[in-house]
Structures are given as C-alpha cells and as structure tokens.
Symmetry: C2
Subunit: 422 residues, 2 copies
C-alpha cells in the first residue's frame, strides 16, 4: 500500500522516487496523481516527505485536482539554461532538473526513475543529468520487483472497491456477449449469422465488446482476446477479426478492461464451445476446471504464489500434458504461469512463475488472477479459466466478480440433430 | 516517410535504431509493426537493412502478421546468462541483448533507442548494456526532433487515407454531439436537461463522445476536451465532469481520437455557445476566425511553420491580446502555439513554437493542425478553432475533414425572450 512506501524506500536505500510523464495511462504517475489530463509532468517523492507534482501552466486546474502539493514548471524556466547548454535542449533540461532537485533538497543520493512514456528523449536527458549531477545516482529498478510495484502489490479498501467495480462491468459485458452469441441464427455449415443474415465474425464480436465497455466507462486499452479454434490454442493470440463464429469450437474469451483514463484493471477469462463440444475439448476443459478448483480450495494466506504454479504443473503433467516444470518453453500443453497481481498494471506483483523470487506471497491485500489453461493449436483448441481474487486481511480469498463456468453454451435457435456425425 | 529513414539515419551517423515495447499504443513500434498484440518486443533496424522483430512465442501469430522478418526470443534464452550475471536479471538481459546485437551484425557504433513503455526496468538494463558493451553508443534523441520523428513527419498515401478516415469519424461524432445538445430541453435557469429531466453535465456529454467513437472503431485514449465557461479559458483543462451544460457560455470541444490499438490520430476543435453568445465572446470568436482564415489563405509549400505562429501572435497583439511574442508564458490571451504535426503521435513534427528550429517547414506530405485560440479564464471564456490539413505534393493545403464554423448554435426548443436582460 502507499503507506508502505517510505519503509520500502528505506529498504532499498532510496532517497527519492522520480516519476515522469502523463497522469493518464502511466501507472506510476496515476498511483500518485489519480489520473486526469496532466501531461509531461514530474513528481518528486522524497523518503519521509509528501510528493510534489510539477506541472505545465495550461494544466494548472487538472494538477490542482490531484490534491498534491503542486509547483508550476514556469517557476523554473528551462530557457534559463539554453545559453549554458549551448543550444543542447536535453542538456538544458538536465541542468534545469538539477536546479529543481537541489531546491527541493535532493542534491545527491539515490533516486529511482519511473514513468511510462516515450523513452528516447528522457533517456538522453537522464544520461546528461547523470553527467552534470554525478552525486545523484539514478536507479532503474527491475520491472518485476521495483519499490513502487512492492507498494502497489497490496491494495487498500478504496482500490479494492474500484477493482470490484470494474469487475462488475466486466462480467456484465461477458453476459451480454453470451446472450448475443447464443441468440444468433445458425447456418447449415454451423456458422453463426448476424441480424442481417451475413456471417458473424470475431471482429464483429470485438466491436460489440468495445462498445459495451465504453458505455460503462471502461476501455479495453490493452486489447481483448476473443480467439476461436486454432487461435484459441495460442494463449496470446487475440483472434483474427475475419474468423467466423462457428459451433463446436473452443472460444477463449479473455477480457481485461481498465477504468477509462488508465485506472485499475480487471482480468477475466471464460472458454466456451457453442452448441456442442468435441469430446477432446470437453476433456481439456474438465481438467482445467479441476485444477482451478483445487488451487482455489487451497489458497492460504502468506503462502508462496509459486507453490500453486508448481501444483498446477504437476497436476497437468500427471494428465500427460507438457508444462514449464519439465519442458523449457513448451508450445503446447500448459504453457504459461498460473496468475499475477492485478492493479494499475494488468500484470504486476505478486508473480507465480517457477522462476519468480520466493517472496511472491499471498499477502493480505494482494489482488491476483488465477488462470490455468491448456493449449493445442494443432488440434485447433485451447482452454483457459480465469478469475480475479482479493486476499483479504482475514485470510479469505474473495472472488471479486463471479460468473458461471459453463463450457458448452446451448444455442437458443439450434439443436444438435440426433444421429449427426458431429 | 519510412523510405527516408536510411538517409536520415546516415545524416545522424546512426548504425541502428532499437525499438522496445509493445506494438500497440507505442508509436515507434507501431510505425514498423503496424499494431497488434505483440508485447515486450524488440525491433532492430540497421541502416540500409530491413527491420527485424523479436517476439515472445505466445505471440508468434501476431508477430507474423506484421509482415516483417521475425525471430523468436526463445532462440536467445536470457537464462543462458543468469549464472554469469550472478542472478542480476537486468544484467542477464543486457548480456543477452549484447549477444543478439552481435549475431545480427551490430557489435558497435551508434544506436538510437526508442519505445513508449515503463522506463524503470529498461533504463536499468540500458545502463548495464552501456557498461558491458561500451563499443555501442546508446543515443537518446530529442523528443522534438528525433530521426524517427523526421521520418514520420511526411506521410505516404496510405497514411493520409487512414488519417482522413479517422477525420471522418471525428466530424461524424462532433455532428452527433451538436445535434444532441441543440435538441435538449432547457430549464428556466438556462441549464440543459437530459431525457429524464435531470441537468446535463460535461461528464454526460463525454460519455456519449466515448461511446460514439467506440461504435466507429476509434478511441479517445488521450482524452477529449469538453470545457465550458472558465474551464474553456484554460486551454488544456479537459472540463470538470460535474459542470452543468448551460446556454450562453463558450464551450471548447477539442477532440483528438485515434484508431483503436494506437494508430493514427486526428485533431479537431470547435467552440460553441448554445442559444446565444455574450458580445465579448462573439468578438473573441470573430478574431480567432479571422486569423484562422488569414493563416489558411497564406499557407505556402515549404514555408516555415513558425512564420505562421508569428503572424498569429502579431494579429492578436494588434487586437490588444497578450501572446508569446512579447510575454513569457502568458496565462491569458493567445497562450499556445499555432499547431503541430499529427500522425501516430497526437503532437509531432513539424512544430510551430517561436522557439522551434528553423527547419520546421510545410514540406509536401506533412499533416498539421492549425489551431489559433484566445483564453480569458477570469472572464469565464475561451475560444479555439482547429482543423487538420495535409500539405499535398502539389503544394495545396487540403482540409482532411470539414465541418461548419458556427459559433452560436440555436437551440431547437428554446428561444431568447425579447427584452431579456441576457
């Protein structure tokens, strides 16, 4: 939680955290500022002090809305250094940063740099800052285990409320998709039809998802996975827009919307087969469901997240599938990790990969996805089930948005013929 | 254009461009890959060679869709270096990059780094790469004038077609907003009402804008400015969601949507006053319109964009307003630049600021916004008019989406009373 930040900074011997960039779609800045149209800003968080936000005058009202201590960049004109920098803009910015840091009591020590933004210019500036201010060590922390990700790892009640709310939006939209698909007419070759009689494509379904999310104040800014058949068998294949929606094929529907403006995410997956299922797909589904239930039943406060990944690998290997336990980078079977933290980043601490550090624990306050899956692209099928859970302070893992686990979705206007060869 | 890239790289003595991050919402990677769900990728563009895209196995289908030469990261496992790196993940990544670069013929020289992504981890990796591979100079180019921004500055026909298309979406949605607002009922205190009889807010209008854009495959990922009254007088104030829509106040509606997935932008602004206008607001509007027309009439092929900014400042100062010509960082009057390039970045070359370099020219192929404005927050008013133009190879500046310039929008169900004190 944010209240852990000073202690975490002390653990890492950080004197300051420096965050660059916009407040929107930039998790480190959003975490402090709370979003809004504050662009090309700088935030200085010194250990033991309140953060200070530097903004551009045109965005003074938006900056003020953050509730933070704010300072206008116009009090520190970069142009003061253009002569000294001999026209080198990046050097002038670096010299200006040195002045700002010094005036705010940061004249040396260790400062971690953060911010989701275009790298090129800032990289040039920071290299120049390092040379004009060698007494300040600029630290680029690991993307898996930074000080900020450690603070973000556990959520407070307000954050949980927001994640729960985006979860409710998510399952509402999933239900709308299910209702829409199962109400479609079906052509003789088992292709679903739109209202106008033309074939329904993956692209059509995705447009509806984007629309239904937007209506509810959410965005699928990271995309949505809606993949059928072979694409369902490749975990991160998002689905080819031209693919036709067809009965009897596995559909992996992985939806991870965020609050508009780059706020909190939710992560959710269901796998469906419309009308009927191939027996082999049903068997994969049953196995994924079984290990999912087993993991959920066994979630323990402060246990290692990685232990559940191992449990999942062992279960799948006992059923004859490959996994990362004994195969390096498998392309079929169980090919990914069990889950991850969910927050302002769609993927964040704690991690569950077998190679992750041992301190990825189910601490009170973490929000995690649990998402076992099996993938056989060459057989044209894939299965994943995913929900998002909150590990409460009382130790219970609470499902943040529930939704049925039906695999075969009956079609309202279509029935399997008796004696059909399918 | 992309075809200029090798010559531009030679001008800057660059042996390579290195792009990091996802293909979506990351302009440098999008420029090469064309979007899609390719995450945490690496692209190497050597001078005189075709680019090579390194991808993660789970996204092999998406990577293949780019049409580029692709290589799986699984051929270069980072784990090969974990022992040598003594468990330091960033060092292992840096050593792995050194191996990849060497195998692809980049064992030294100058390489510019690019990519919109979280800075912290990559900054750490690049610092370590610089120390294990000192023969490769990593260059962070200016965000105003990088090699890639110079290539992107002029657009080919396909890019123009895409910008024109998003422009058509933009003006369609603006028309829908105009139709919606002018059809509203009006309360006695001149507040607009929703269908259910409650007051219409800025937040309500913005939700509709997001929805109507999503229905058309566009996103307002950078936000939309819909600001009334005092907020209209602060150029980048996006508008407070709780503000009530009211007659007779200036409304600055600046909409800059992009293609879904982080593609091309469009940039467009109209200022409206519903029902009637305050005489002072009308006078500001007339001045903005006059200088807008003057600029458009005078746009010349290969002229300096900055000259038009100077022309605009001089015009506004002749009318008694402050501008950047004689006032440092004015907070009222004409407070910003005339326009900017528009492409995969909402703001890109060419630039028009008085402080911009002299080579920001209206070259054939540039796409620019023209957006003069006047702002008086303390008087509760602001005005801006903005359109996006393409400077064609034949020298004509072509408006990429047209829309009427009405300032006062008559309300369908409301008429100003004769003898009203307004």
């Amino acid at each position: 939680m944010k209240s852990d930040l000073d202690a975490l900074m002390q653990d890492r011997r950080l004197d300051a955290i420096l965050v660059f960039g916009d407040a929107e779609y930039n998790p480190p800045m959003y975490y402090f500022v709370g979003g809004g149209h504050v662009s090309s800003a700088l935030l200085i968080k010194k250990v033991g002090k309140e953060p200070v936000l530097f903004y551009n005058d045109m965005e003074r009202d938006e900056a003020a809305r953050s509730g933070l201590k704010t300072v206008s960049f116009s009090e520190f004109p970069m142009t003061d250094f253009m002569e000294q920098a001999n026209g080198d803009m990046q050097l002038a910015v670096a010299l200006n940063f040195r002045r700002i840091f010094s005036e705010f009591g940061l004249s040396g020590g260790r400062a971690a740099v953060y911010g989701r933004m275009e790298l090129s210019h800032l990289f040039g500036v920071l290299m120049k800052l390092a040379s004009v201010m060698p007494e300040l060590e600029l630290v680029g922390e690991s993307g898996m285990d930074s000080t900020l990700l450690r603070a973000m790892e556990t959520k407070d009640d307000l954050e949980i409320a927001r994640i729960r709310q985006i979860g409710a939006v998510t399952t509402t939209v999933v239900q709308m998709v299910q209702d829409y698909l199962t109400a479609c007419d079906v052509r003789e070759d088992e292709v679903l039809l739109k209202e106008d009689g033309s074939p329904l494509t993956v692209g059509d379904v995705k447009s509806k998802i984007a629309l239904w999310l937007a209506e509810r104040g959410a965005v699928d800014v990271e995309g949505v996975i809606f993949a059928i058949g072979r694409d369902a068998g490749v975990p991160h294949s998002v689905g080819a827009p031209e693919d036709l929606m067809t009965l009897g094929k596995t559909i992996v529907f992985d939806i991870f919307p965020a609050e508009k403006g780059g706020g909190y995410f939710f992560d959710f997956t269901r796998t469906w087969s419309l009308g009927y299922a191939a027996p082999e797909a049903q068997s994969l589904y049953d196995q994924v469901r079984e290990v999912y239930d087993k993991v959920i039943e066994n979630l323990d406060l402060n246990a290692s997240f990685i232990d559940y990944q191992r449990m999942t690998c062992e279960y799948f290997e006992s059923k004859g599938h490959k996994s990362q336990l004994n195969t390096k980078a498998p392309l079929e079977g169980y090919v990914h990790s069990l889950g991850h933290g969910v927050g302002l980043n769609i993927h964040e601490r704690p991690w569950s990969a077998l190679t992750a550090a041992g301190d990825n624990l189910l601490k009170p306050g973490v929000v995690i996805s649990i998402e076992p899956g099996l993938y056989y692209p060459d057989k044209g099928m894939g299965v994943r089930i995913e929900d998002t859970y909150w590990v409460r302070p009382d130790g219970k893992a609470e499902l943040l948005a529930d939704y049925p686990y039906d695999f075969v979705l009956p079609m309202k206007k279509w029935k399997k013929e008796v004696g059909s060869k399918k």
